[in-house]
Symmetry: C2
Subunit: 259 residues, 2 copies
């Protein structure tokens, strides 16, 4: 029986709101057992880029990452957001360590191939170095990953945070019984986006495919669900989608995915 | 007999110049044995702050760090500079891991007390967590520290990079025979600032005090030397001051300090 590991991904809306972030981090600090946090930060990056006079260019919800944009992302994800989360977790007695995929060569990626669109410095994850990451976990540190990877040749890449969370979950399933949480501003996957109580509590792959073809999911939810089912199909024990309190309080509505 | 650990601090001029940084990192990658890199980044921070419309306010060579400036420092030191160095070292087969003092609670500091000047979010180092840092070293990772510390209560602080290097050296002297290198744009401590060949090759504390009272050292050199002698007096084996190639090539002029 493998030991349990929880991997929790939080999105931009939680990070943007100081009180919401602090509340989430308190919940995260109470989550028992070994754990990893993964965060985005796109809204803050857009804000800083705009202040620096760098236009944010999004295609299908993905950021086109030129050299200037990569600098902003490295500053905001790797520095501002990551290190403030680490400091706040230390204040909550969580022995956090902030990482990009370059640190300890934890996540190797390759530049996304150019088909119709050149996404620039965007990397597709090729390998999670679960052995090196596990050295940190075994030392009782709590890794906090931002959405940056590298090519092992000196180049950083922007990589979707949901993808990083699911790839970490898959890689660490070699060693752990992994539970993956996608936390965002809704209570789960909703039947009707306007009704926050319309949570689909259990969703299997068939239902997902069916709803997808009906166009039931909005832009942000589709990659989250695709990542989730990829993770479950690749050895991750359970995937939950819900609001940030779901990690420590299961006495509420949220979505559990299964094959 | 303790094992050797090299701690190398590089300054802003090396970081600013892409070719100089790459050249230094190649030298650093060839440095044998256990090692730690410490970097500044003040010039880049000043540049980004200026682009963001935040004035840089220096008093006696120290940056007054208000909340906006701390954000810039967290972005530039902790993100942009640190993560690019980590990625480049990974490209040179050094298994680097980028850290602030908040990560693994490695460097605890307290806000500098307000006497004549309120430096803002500037921290004076109180404790180096050599046991936690050693877990990373023992795992064959190479820590790369930027000039940020924390108060263990969620607050990041700006801290002088020379001080971080010397405090790390002192803290890790409990476990290692530590050699500390301060690398900068000159070949060592100079008798005459205008003459780069006038390197003082050996300097003891008496000579330092004598030259200091003669006003021989410029603003940047004084805290470097103060940190150096503090380190030697506190258990650090050797302190070298020289250009960035000194770490792998002792067949040139540089300054060795001793008590």
């Amino acid at each position: 029986m493998k030991e349990q590991l929880s991997i929790v991904k939080i999105g931009g809306n939680v990070i943007e709101d100081v009180a919401a972030l602090q509340s989430f981090l308190e919940h995260f600090s109470k989550l028992e057992g070994k754990k990893i946090l993964v965060h985005g930060g796109g809204k803050r990056a857009t804000h800083v880029a705009s202040k620096l006079g760098i236009a944010s260019n999004m295609v299908n919800g993905r950021r086109i990452t030129d050299a200037d944009t990569l600098e902003v992302i490295t500053m905001v994800y790797g520095g501002l957001v990551n290190k403030n989360i680490v400091a706040k977790l230390q204040g909550l007695q969580v022995d956090a360590i902030g990482l990009t995929g370059a640190d300890i060569n934890s996540i190797y990626s390759e530049k996304r191939p150019v088909k119709d669109i050149d996404y620039g410095f965007v990397g597709d994850v090729k390998r999670v170095n679960h052995k090196s990451i596990n050295k940190l976990i075994e030392a009782d540190f709590t890794p906090v990953f931002c959405a940056i990877t590298h090519d092992k040749n000196g180049q950083l890449f922007n990589t979707n945070a949901d993808t990083i969370a699911s790839e970490l979950a898959i890689g660490l399933s070699e060693l752990y019984n992994v539970e993956l949480y996608f936390c965002f501003e809704k209570n789960g996957v909703l039947k009707s986006v306007a009704d926050d109580n319309s949570v689909i509590e259990y969703m299997d792959y068939g239902t997902y495919e069916q709803l997808k073809h009906q166009g039931a999911f909005h832009d942000g939810m589709l990659p989250k669900l695709a990542n989730s089912f990829h993770a479950i199909a690749s050895g991750v024990s359970r995937v939950f989608i819900g609001n940030p309190t779901v990690i420590s309080n299961k006495n509420q509505k949220f979505t559990t995915l299964y094959l």
